[in-house]
């Protein structure tokens, strides 16, 4: 018997032992029920699965305008790989990391949109991709500094809460990245309570029609006990399941809508949760030739609550021309540190009103 046969024989004996082992069993019906309820609750409120139009809010690199969230510091580092998804328009590039494979504290940045980056060649794109992987590791180590907090409203509706962090890369360069701020646990509980009591209003409706399916995404407005107004998007459970679009197609649809590259089909008034809503309907042709219809509108009393690419450009110009009106300053503690905020109002040529509160660490306090 040669060495290989001896080893095989050893393997077979261990295998026989392993196959004959009696496995202990344990069941916890209580845990299953509780976890199931938590998962379904999050799906219902749109927190677990990201619906159309929300994925892109995950993260935005700040190169001038936007930004945004924060995660618990965790010593165990998980390496997330980033991929270049494509160029959205001049100076705007999209990168993404695959689904998180670790614990909830190890979430990656997700989709990262880089704007105002000029014309990036292949080498610059690859460098940026590697920078994002380095930044992801720094982020997990919490090796970063919260430098700016931005709260923005569009036409009086909450639009974005953005936490901007500065990262120092190994070669000394710095990058500032904005992340959408997560809801605090107390806010989350309060919103859940308001939701159950029906104390909320629809402020935006998006309907997507494709392949005979229609899905509807609702953005609800909540007023918290301290007067803060917050919003949350969720799929409308009154309609059946989502349209059969892939993630890639959904991302492309969002990009086309953001760039306003749809063909206007008309407007219609529909009843959404007993409220009349005027929907503007557009047809979008995706790069693979698929045509998807998307309608968007607001109930009476509400104006649009987000900005398109053209709006963002117009806002940049207003900001650059110093045409904002300072409304005042205030102080607020953010993550246990004092910040001084300045509120500035900007009005675009079409009447869209943006109020931005920019908070900086208040060294004087």
């Amino acid at each position: 018997m040669n060495q290989g046969e001896l080893m095989k024989s050893g393997d077979e004996r261990i295998e026989a032992f392993l196959k004959g082992i009696v496995l202990p069993e344990y069941q916890s019906d209580g845990h299953a029920r509780q976890l199931r309820a938590q998962i379904l609750s999050r799906v219902e409120t749109g927190r677990a699965g990201k619906g159309p139009g929300r994925w892109w809010k995950t993260a935005v690199i700040l190169l001038g305008l936007l930004g945004a969230g924060a995660l618990a510091a965790e010593i165990v580092i998980q390496v997330h790989h980033y991929y270049f998804e494509g160029k959205i328009r001049e100076g705007t590039y999209l990168f993404s990391s695959p689904p998180n494979e670790g614990g909830t504290n190890h979430a990656s940045l997700g989709s990262v949109m880089i704007s105002g980056a000029g014309n990036m060649d292949a080498a610059a794109i690859e460098k940026k991709r590697k920078d994002l992987e380095e930044i992801d590791v720094l982020r997990q180590r919490n090796a970063r500094e919260l430098v700016t907090v931005i709260y923005s409203t569009v036409n009086g509706n909450p639009w974005a809460r953005t936490f901007c962090y500065k990262y120092v890369l190994a070669d000394g360069r710095t990058e500032t990245i904005g992340e959408g701020a997560d809801e605090s646990e107390s806010d989350r509980q309060q919103i859940d309570g308001l939701r159950q009591q029906g104390r909320r209003e629809i402020m935006n409706v998006v309907e997507v029609e494709f392949g005979g399916h229609k899905e509807r995404m609702l953005t609800w407005r909540y007023v918290l006990s301290d007067g803060r107004v917050v919003s949350r998007s969720e799929a409308d459970t009154e309609l059946p399941g989502p349209a059969p679009l892939t993630d890639k197609q959904r991302n492309e649809l969002w990009q086309l809508a953001w760039l306003e590259k749809g063909k206007f089909l008309g407007s219609a008034q529909v009843q959404v949760h007993e409220k009349p809503v005027n929907l503007q309907k557009y047809a979008y042709t995706l790069p693979d030739g698929t045509v998807v219809t998307q309608s968007e509108g607001q109930p009476a009393g509400f104006k649009k609550s987000h900005l398109t690419a053209a709006d963002a450009d117009a806002w940049q110009q207003v900001m650059a021309a110093n045409k904002g009106e300072t409304l005042g300053t205030y102080e607020e503690d953010v993550r246990g540190k004092p910040f001084k905020f300045t509120r500035v109002k900007y009005v675009l040529s079409d009447g869209t009103e943006i109020i931005q509160s920019v908070g900086k660490p208040d060294g004087g306090r």
Partner: protein
């Protein structure tokens, strides 16, 4: 759906049972595709998806840790993470089941790493004779002496070896599924299994077990 074809071709051709399982597995991915798509916003579909996979993921984590509390925590993490990122799950890469197992394997890896670090910080190296993964509350497992001894022996193995042993022999996963879960090629998985079995022999014999 390129992954399904590769899923099936990864199986061992001579193993009929494994081929059958691969076909069933591929068929199930079709069901899962519709379920996952719907589960992003439909609670009924999300409930179905949860009910379908909760028992086996829970069992996998329990067989890997033998600790009730840790099993519940890690299983919760797996499902929170999976449902949170359902919208970004890509079918062309791996089937949903394999994706869930992959998340669970990562949770287990992080759990062991934290435990190791905690032991090192306390100045108490991990004692193979008393695996810290087994809590005193798990007296139910005490009746299965062989399994307890096996667990201790497994804790002496590296995580990658432990993973393939648990998946293959405790959870009955096919080679092709283990390839998808671990993101390794079939040759690598076979080699890992071979090395894991060889490494497992010594601590088992040391523990006084007579192999068949």
């Amino acid at each position: 759906m390129p992954n399904d074809a590769s899923t099936m071709s990864l199986g061992t051709p001579t193993d009929r049972a494994e081929e059958d399982r691969a076909s069933v597995f591929a068929g199930r991915t079709e069901e899962d595709r519709a379920l996952v798509l719907a589960a992003r916003s439909d609670t009924a579909a999300a409930g179905q998806l949860f009910d379908k996979y909760y028992p086996e993921i829970f069992r996998y984590v329990y067989h890997s840790t033998l600790d009730h509390a840790v099993t519940e925590d890690l299983t919760s993490n797996v499902f929170f993470s999976a449902f949170r990122h359902l919208g970004r799950f890509r079918w062309r890469r791996i089937p949903f089941r394999a994706w869930l197992y992959r998340i669970a394997t990562n949770e287990l890896r992080m759990h062991y790493r934290k435990q190791k670090r905690r032991s090192a910080a306390n100045g108490s190296p991990v004692d193979p004779e008393l695996p810290s993964a087994v809590s005193s509350a798990d007296t139910i497992a005490a009746e299965q002496d062989d399994y307890r001894l096996l667990q201790r022996a497994l804790l002496e193995l590296g995580q990658k070896y432990r993973t393939v042993i648990v998946l293959r022999y405790f959870e009955g996963r096919s080679l092709s599924e283990i390839c998808e879960i671990t993101n390794k090629r079939e040759g690598t998985v076979k080699s890992l299994l071979h090395r894991a079995l060889a490494q497992l022999k010594e601590p088992l014999v040391r523990a006084g077990l007579t192999l068949p």
